[in-house]
């Protein structure tokens, strides 16, 4: 192949040289196709995700709405209750006022009648107390006198113990007092 024109030769050479390039191109094209496939796959997945996200977003939105609704209704209920309570309280207060007013007037009336009747009332109380005492005491006068004397006598004895520490002058004064007390009792108990 010596007579092959140089240009042709060149061309052949070039061609020779190009073949691997074409091969590599061919393989590249494959790779690109792969890539394209992958991208479209990715796109599809992306779309799915997008869709999912919108649906989640929607979901969230709707549940938020629902929650807000519940809170609103609960607030309303509570407000209702508070209002009712206030109303009742008001009613109650006013009725209490009435009651208190009633009581006050009653008290005033009582006060007036009490001051008017105080003396007669006290007289009645006194007389009934004394009848009760009389009934209680009846037939027991002696025991009561005895009881009083015993407690009186205890005092006398303790006075007596103190006598020893006194000066003769005070001494006879106290002794006279003691003897007077005893004499009073003697008279009471003998009568």
């Amino acid at each position: 192949m010596k007579n092959v024109p140089k240009a042709l030769q060149n061309l052949a050479d070039q061609y020779e040289k190009t073949i691997p390039k074409i091969d590599s191109f061919k393989s590249n094209t494959k790779a690109i196709q792969n890539l394209i496939d992958q991208v479209s796959n990715l796109e599809r997945e992306m779309n799915f995700v997008k869709q999912e996200m919108t649906s989640i977003k929607n979901d969230i939105l709707s549940s938020q709405e629902r929650n807000e609704q519940t809170i609103r209704t609960q607030e309303e209920i509570i407000m209702d209750m508070i209002n009712k309570f206030n109303e009742e309280l008001l009613q109650h207060k006013s009725s209490m006022k009435e009651d208190i007013q009633n009581l006050k007037t009653q008290q005033d009336v009582l006060k007036i009648s009490y001051t008017i009747n105080e003396k007669t009332f006290m007289d009645k109380v006194n007389s009934s107390i004394s009848t009760i005492i009389k009934k209680q005491v009846e037939g027991k006068e002696n025991e009561i006198l005895m009881k009083i004397w015993i407690s009186e006598f205890k005092d006398i004895i303790s006075d007596f113990e103190k006598l020893k520490k006194l000066k003769p002058k005070e001494f006879s004064v106290r002794l006279n007092e003691i003897s007077d007390t005893i004499d009073i009792f003697k008279q009471k108990i003998m009568s």
């Binding site: 006598f153 006879s172 002794l175």
Partner: protein, 323 residues
């Protein structure tokens, strides 16, 4: 010359029912009690003897012998000058045993200096034929060293004589113990004013170891009946020990009588206190402190006694309600 005051504290002790109260009552001129009313606590009686230069006051404490009223309370045994230990000649065994077991021991403990007499009461109930048994019974107890005298509250036999002896013995002791000359001759003076001789008083005492049972009865039969006393023949009222005042109904004793009795004893003791105080007011300053101490002792005893009496009335009232 100043009249000096002499106070003698005499206590009468013995089992319930031996006749302590009867003896004191007849001594101070009251009637012999018609029936038995137990003494609750103590009753004080006073017997006075006036001599030219002396005024003698015998303070007689009659102590209830029923055990439920606490006759062994030490307060009844303190500061005594003399003591009569009474037994019942009609029931010598039991009543002497009581003296031996309790009263003598307490006296020795709380008033070791006091003059003690052993007194057999109810001599009117002793039959001649029982004399020997009686004397043997008394001997058996061997309570020795104390004069024994038989008396009867009912016939009043030997009653005034007994108390004359008590005062006489005390005055003799006073004469002999003091170095003060003011009491010289006082016992003789007393005998003269009481119109008694020393022999007569000696005669009261029964020598239990030597006496002939046949002569005993002559000795204890009253020579003269001193008061108009209806002497029913040797009747013996059965007496019972009272353990609980609330059950007084079982004893056939009139509850109201007991109540009356307690109250009158209460009043009586109050009067004694009032007298004690007015006597104290009269006593000379130097003797006052001593007198106050002894009076205080008596006063606190009496206060406990007042309480006992009130409590007893309240107990009786409870028995009222239960009936």
């Amino acid at each position: 010359m100043l009249v000096s005051e002499i106070n003698i504290k005499l206590t009468i002790l013995g089992q319930w029912g031996v006749g302590k109260t009867s003896i004191v009552s007849t001594l101070v001129g009251k009637d012999f009690p018609a029936m038995y009313i137990p003494t609750i606590g103590s009753n004080i009686a006073r017997k006075e003897y006036n001599l030219t230069n002396n005024h003698i006051r015998l303070n007689i404490w009659d102590i209830g012998g029923q055990r439920s009223f606490n006759p062994l309370n030490p307060v009844f045994f303190s500061n005594l000058d003399s003591a009569l230990l009474l037994f019942d000649l009609n029931n010598p065994k039991e009543t002497l045993q009581e003296i031996k077991d309790t009263y003598l021991k307490n006296l020795a403990k709380f008033s070791p200096e006091c003059i003690i007499y052993l007194i057999g009461n109810k001599s009117d109930l002793v039959k001649p034929e029982d004399s020997e048994i009686l004397l043997n019974n008394i001997r058996k107890y061997q309570i020795q060293g104390f004069p024994i005298i038989f008396v009867s509250a009912k016939t009043q036999d030997n009653i005034t004589e007994l108390f004359t002896l008590v005062v006489y013995d005390f005055l003799k002791k006073l004469e002999n113990s003091g170095n003060e000359t003011q009491f010289q001759g006082i016992s003789k003076n007393f005998l003269t004013s009481a119109a008694k001789s020393e022999d007569q008083l000696d005669d009261l005492i029964i020598n239990i170891n030597e006496i002939d049972p046949n002569t005993l009865h002559k000795k204890i039969t009253p020579k003269i009946t001193k008061k108009n006393i209806m002497l029913t023949k040797n009747e013996v009222i059965p007496l019972k020990e009272i353990k609980d005042l609330k059950k007084i109904r079982e004893f056939n004793i009139d509850k109201n009588k007991i109540k009356e009795n307690i109250f009158s004893a209460f009043k009586n003791n109050l009067v004694v206190i009032s007298e004690l105080i007015s006597e104290l007011k009269k006593s000379p300053i130097n003797a006052l402190i001593d007198n106050i101490d002894t009076s205080l002792n008596d006063l606190s005893n009496l206060n406990k006694d007042f309480e006992l009496k009130l409590d007893s009335i309240l107990e009786l009232e409870k028995s009222d309600k239960n009936n």
